[in-house]
Amino acid sequence: MSQMFQIEFDNVPEERIVGIDLGTTNSLVAHMTLGSPRVLEGHDGKIVPSVVSLGDNGGFIIGNAARQELIDHPERSIYSVKRLMGRGVDDVQEELKLFPFRIAEGSESVIQVMLGDRKMTPPEISALILRQLKLNAEEALGGPVTRAVITVPAYFNDAQRQATRDAGRIAGLEVLRLVNEPTAAALAYGLDKRKEGIVAVYDMGGGTFDISILKLHDGIFEVLATNGDTHLGGDDIDNLLIRIALEDVQSEWGEDISHVGEAVQTLRQAVIRAKEELSFVPVTSIEFAWHGKSYKRELTRELFENLIRGIVDRTLGPCRDCMKDAGVTPEQIDEVVLVGGSTRIPLVRSAVEVLFRAKPHTELNPDEVVALGAAVQAGILAGTVENQLLLDVTPLSLGIETYGGVVTKIIHRNSTIPASASETFTTAVDGQSNVLIHVLQGERELVKDNRSLARFDLKGIAPMPAGFARIEVRFLIDANGILNVMARDARTGNEQSVEVKPSYGLTDEQVEAMIEASIDHAEEDLNARQAAEARVDADTILIALERAKKNAAYGELSEEERQAISAAVIQLQAVYNSTDHLLIREKVEALNQATMSLAEAQMNTAVRSALKGTHIDAER
């Protein structure tokens, strides 16, 4: 009996580690509560749209409320910022043709986006979304939340993962683990109930496509291979429909509205509505009105499917490559899991079914399944979920630049992580004190065709003849899929200093500065809110007093009493616009005291009620 109690007791103190799906279109936060994952709700629902807008007062509007701002103030609103995470200006030229990102001038390796006249990096914007989720979770769980598991597309590279982790830090979250979205989904489905088997997870979200093939083994989820496209998702379908509608509008209205941000945003919402409806009905229409003109086009599912077939087909190549890398045939795949809103499209479902020759799982809401899986992983880390373990892989090969602009691979893609490799470096010139190592990610032979990750500068090498130094460098990809580099002098065994110059991403110092800034702003934001609340109280009492003055009781006050009240009013008005809420409250309280004697002296309940802010007429 006491043993039973002990076990239950151990399971009760659940740590508030949350699981977060930081999506291109929508974001969610979930938690493992009493043994099962659940999505936590905010004031306006479970889903926080990944939209951020800069408000009139300089504060930020996030989520559902920001969606309207996207139409009203597109110049200071942003959506799909995940597409910019960990990427440089050169990387996003294609996206810029399709998405209304306003890239700040002078952006290079780290993009800066303009929100109104404010310059912000993608991790800072993502941090605002994370902070909203953190708040929602804190309210739902009734306590502070400081640790999280955040999901990323399996095919995210190192820079994109680092940017996501940076966003967490800026939001005040210790990111205990980055988990790949498809793997998280497999966890959510609790497929471990099947002891052995092969599972394919097909994940088509708003902006990215991932495919992962896993082997289940007694609670161990071992990823065999992963593949994908970080530029393929539901947004591409929307853009296709928007392009068609814009052409129609141009010919019908004789007007090109493709550069009018508000119009395009309104149209985007119209095509999304039509797209979503077509998952349930065979025919619908795209309806759009703008400045008194209207546009309507009928869209059948058949036509829709013909339009998007190319996009759906683009997911099949990565699926085949993934099966090849995993060493499995379609017949060997026991289960298929669908993740992401785009997998609601009947054409996507049938394409998956044909390819894998298995009927896909759709029991869980494809919008929630990733967040639920993140919560399970959080439970694993918290120790509340036992006997389940995720063994993931690195999606891309890691290499170093060697002579002639060629890449030598040191950790191959689909290696189980953590994974490591060691290389020994030496000097080429007598007395050389630095060695620069260029690390890349990708599958191609030449440096220029791969993704530059960072340059590592081995500094302070003791002067020696060329070729004598022996610096052993260890490259380690951790369980988050993020590269760590350590170096030591192989002769002395001493640690060798390494300076990291990320090719696309923030330095540690920059992230620290942003954390500082966000804390500063958080204080500003809090102060502003508290001052505003104090002003509301001031208004209440001032209005009540004005009403009371019309009451006969006021005339019966002594001269001193009336002067005391006037003095208190003047003092309150003097501090009314102060940013110091304590000062405002102090003066509100003083006026409260000054009017108290009035109320008591007259024993007039009507006045009393008026001073409390009740409508005086109601008392008569």
Partner: protein, 200 residues
């Protein structure tokens, strides 16, 4: 490797200290790490079983709430576990690992010298690849034929290797190892040729 537990000082700790249960720094040698004899012939099933069992013991997820130092050892140990599993489960990589440990590293590229008995084959293949570039479709059949021959050679080598692996395991004869190295070099050269035919 430290001879005392870093945490409580107890002597001769294994993977975990017998006294305080603290995780110890992992051994670097893959065979030692898996607790397997340093042999070239190896039971793949047994290796896999060990891999899963050790993953459950060592993975960073299990150490998330432990001290910074144990978290680091867990990361290190799991990296060695995963790296070791990758190398040991593949006979060729496993043999190269043993060669390296014995100071007979064949390096990343292997030899660039054409094995003399392959001289003619390589010459013909290069000709055919050249002709392919100019759109000669007949060259394609020639290349496919070459690939088949190369794949046959690989199979033959693998058979010989298997015998040599057993021979090395039986007596740790240095000459056997040199012979293995020769075969691995040849194999590497041939697999590179196969790759060339695939790009055609």
């Amino acid at each position: 490797m430290e001879s005392n537990c870093w945490n409580c000082g107890a002597s001769a700790p294994e993977r975990f200290c017998a006294d305080c249960k603290a995780l110890q720094p992992p051994p670097a040698d893959y065979f030692v790490f898996f607790g397997l004899p340093a042999q070239l012939s190896l039971d793949g099933k047994e290796l896999e079983k060990q891999f899963y069992a050790l993953s459950r013991q060592l993975h960073p997820d299990i150490f998330a709430r432990k001290s910074q130092r144990e978290r680091e050892y867990s990361l290190e140990a799991t990296a060695v576990l995963n790296d070791g599993f990758r190398v040991l489960r593949d006979p060729i990589q496993r043999a190269m690992y043993v060669l390296k440990k014995q100071g007979l590293d064949i390096g990343e590229q292997g030899t660039r010298d054409v094995p003399p008995e392959l001289l003619e084959e390589v010459f013909d293949l290069n000709m055919a690849l050249e002709e392919m570039k100019f759109g000669d479709e007949e060259a394609r059949t020639q290349i496919l034929g070459a690939r088949e021959r190369f794949e046959g050679m690989c199979k033959e080598i693998d058979g010989e290797l298997k015998k040599l692996f057993a021979a090395w395991d039986a007596g740790h004869d240095a000459e056997v190892l040199t012979e293995i190295r020769g075969l691995l070099n040849r194999r590497k050269y041939i697999t590179n040729l196969i790759k060339q035919t695939e790009t055609a």
